[in-house]
């Protein structure tokens, strides 16, 4: 039973900085969970607390059901892949892989067998006699993975392991990671700031910001049912458009325009629509949000149109996908139609999603 659990874990530093505030998270056995968020959101802190490299101010951390707060890192039976790999520079790849096993007094024959097995799995057998300084970035990354794998730990911790690789290698290793996890399904906690990595790799994602959990769910949950404006804007590229507006007597108003009837209570709202769901009309008609074209970016398969929308107190830029070949003059007036099922409403003050019931179809005025 190698479940990993954070129970109300907080980490506060002298001077008042709260890196992590009351984290509650359960990672199921064999699950690949991703902690994702911008720098400073607390994801690395959570990982280090789990590893035992740092002590929580309060709360409990459990591995396999047992509380590990007072256990040294070496006693927790976890393995970690560091962002900079942290390979022992004065030891050969073989000795790097063998180090953890040797510290546990594993017999030599067993050590040799497991090291070679792992090297085979990661295709680094030819590198066993070399030192880290003689390896390329990608090779070093595989050795770092191997060092963690060879220990057959209860949990696998990965701290942005792909961020030091170039784009091409990153894609390749991402695929390798997925395959590896299929073959060796160890409970894994993976930290990244890259939302593409998060969405493609994770069984579940835990989106974090400012030391607090914003939402936990599958990629589908996060993408299609964002819990607040942060999650909505963070995941997806280009990010979801967030347009401030007001609902009065059941009608949505954006700026001075009365747009359409919406089944949501009155009050100030933030309307969220993704660029691929927003519908662009070359001429404005009733029921749409009026906008002025700013510029067009062709991407080959489609174009990204950035337009300015008048709202109370100014203008916001909105990005909308349009078919390839769309030509619009800068400054042209267009209309943006809100889709029936993919328009989200968030509370204008808190940013939280309004109750889902209200996201069902929009009426027309």
């Amino acid at each position: 039973m190698t479940e990993v659990e954070f129970r109300d874990v907080t980490r506060r530093y002298a001077g008042g900085v709260t890196a992590l505030n009351g984290l509650n998270l359960t990672v199921a056995e064999g699950e690949f969970l991703i902690l994702v968020g911008p720098s400073g959101c607390g994801k690395s802190t959570a990982l280090r607390l789990l590893a035992g490299l740092d002590k929580p101010t309060s709360g409990e951390i459990r591995i396999g059901g047992a509380v590990v707060n007072n256990l040294a890192p070496g006693e927790r039976d976890i393995a970690m892949v560091f962002q900079n790999y942290a390979l022992y520079p004065h030891m050969s790849v073989y000795r790097n892989l063998a180090y953890g096993l040797r510290q546990r007094r594993t017999p030599r024959a067993e050590v040799d067998r497991r090291v070679r097995e792992t090297a085979e799995l990661l295709q680094i057998t030819e590198l066993l006699d070399r030192k880290p300084g003689q390896l390329s970035g990608g090779q070093r990354q595989r050795v770092a993975m191997g060092r963690a794998l060879v220990r057959k730990p209860q949990a696998f911790l990965l701290d942005e392991p792909l961020s030091n690789l170039d784009a091409k290698l990153r894609n390749q290793v991402r695929g390798d990671l997925k395959r590896l996890h299929r073959e060796v399904p160890v409970t894994s906690i993976y930290v990244t700031h890259d939302q593409v990595e998060a969405m493609t790799l994770g069984d579940r994602l835990c989106v974090m910001a400012g030391g607090e959990v914003q939402q936990i769910g599958t990629t589908d949950d996060i993408y299609n049912r964002p819990a607040n404006t942060f999650v909505a804007a963070f995941m997806g590229s280009p990010p979801m458009n967030l347009i401030p507006g007001v609902i009065r007597s059941g009608l949505l108003h954006v700026g001075e325009t009365e747009v359409t009837a919406v089944p949501s209570p009155d009050g100030p709202v933030t309307v969220g629509v993704r660029p691929e769901h927003l519908q662009l009309h070359p001429s404005y008609t009733d029921g749409m949000v009026p906008a002025r074209v700013d510029f067009i970016e062709p991407l080959g398969s489609h174009v990204l149109v950035t337009a300015q929308v008048e709202v109370d107190g100014g203008r916001v830029p909105v990005i909308v996908n349009a078919p390839a070949g769309t030509e619009l003059a800068s400054g042209a007036r267009i209309g943006l139609a809100l889709p029936q099922e993919r328009t989200y409403f968030f509370d204008a003050e808190t940013g939280d999603a309004r109750r889902t019931r209200e996201r069902v179809s929009l009426g027309h005025a």
Binding site: Y13, A14, G15, L53, D54, K55, A72, P73
Partner: protein
């Protein structure tokens, strides 16, 4: 190109609190302070005990000093030891001489080594490589090999150029140290890390080679210059063997030499001797504490590259 920076090895810990080190993981003992203080305090004490004892003795009377077991705290601190020591030997001359020698050597080194260091770093001139290697070779030669001939050379200067440069004058202390191969090596190393683009931009704007050095490179090299300055001041001030060889008149002595002379004259008057010692030490101790960062950086850098 990265901006030039020496290793930031300072004595101060980082401003942001780092995660508690692994070794403190297990301590169930709730002490209000880290247990390491219990090791560090005695250790630090042991390291400075010679200096502390010197200080204590300097405030004792002769009677107290000549007691056994020794008096750990003098009854009433005798500050007159200091004024007496000052009067017993021309300390005023000693300090003045040390200051003058150190100042001249410092300024000379900074200027001459900057010029040369810059030339070696940036100017492609015929024979540059060979000249550099030749000059650096002098670093391998111990002082004992050169001290006898330098004595003769300095004597020659004194007899034929100006007496102030010759034997038994402080000029002779300055002359051989006006430029060091180490200074050139050190500054050249640093100048090479200043982005060439900055100099090129200035040249394009019409600045002369020398102008580039003084207006662009040197202002950016303040850390390195400060480090070299700190080292030069320390070695110059504390230099003993060369002054011993060259100087015999009291009014030309530098502080270390003067102290040694004082020691010879007042051998068993320990409180007096200690007071003289404290006075001699104080300038360099203050300089060191004030410029500690530069000393640490200089040693650390040489150590890691050497």
């Amino acid at each position: 190109m990265t901006t030039p920076q020496l290793s930031t090895l300072t004595a101060e810990p980082e401003a942001q609190e780092p995660p508690a080190p692994i070794s403190e993981r297990r301590s169930r003992l709730r002490l209000p302070f880290s247990p390491w203080h219990l090791v560090l305090i005695p250790l630090s004490f042991l390291l400075v005990v010679p200096l502390l004892w010197m200080l204590v003795t300097s405030l004792e009377t002769e009677g107290e000093a000549n007691r056994f077991p020794p008096v750990l705290i003098p009854e009433s601190p005798r500050f007159e030891n200091y004024s007496e020591a000052w009067a017993a030997a021309p300390f005023g001359h000693f300090f003045l001489n040390s200051v003058m020698v150190t100042l001249v050597v410092l300024v000379s080194n900074l200027i001459v080594c900057s010029l040369a260091g810059y030339a070696f770093a940036r100017v492609r001139f015929l024979g540059r490589g060979a000249l550099f290697v030749t000059l650096m070779a002098t670093l391998m030669v111990p002082f004992q090999v050169t001290m006898i001939p330098v004595f003769l050379i300095v004597k020659w200067f004194g007899d034929n150029v100006w007496a102030g440069l010759g034997i038994d004058h402080i000029g002779a202390l300055m002359l051989p140290n006006l430029a060091t191969a180490f200074g050139i090596f050190f500054l050249r190393q640093f100048f090479q890390t200043v982005p060439v683009e900055l100099e090129e931009a200035a040249r394009v704007d019409g600045t002369s080679r020398l102008g580039v050095l003084f207006k662009i490179v040197l202002p950016l090299s303040l850390p390195a210059l400060s480090t070299l300055a700190a080292l030069t001041v320390l070695t110059s001030w504390n230099d003993f063997l060369w002054p011993l060889i060259v100087i015999t008149s009291h009014d030309q002595m530098t502080v270390p030499l003067g102290l040694s002379y004082f020691q010879g004259a007042h051998r068993v008057k320990w409180p007096l001797l200690m007071a003289a010692n404290v006075m001699s030490l104080l300038p360099m101790l203050l300089v060191f504490v004030g410029a500690q960062r530069y000393f640490v950086q200089s040693v650390a850098n040489t150590g890691l590259k050497g």
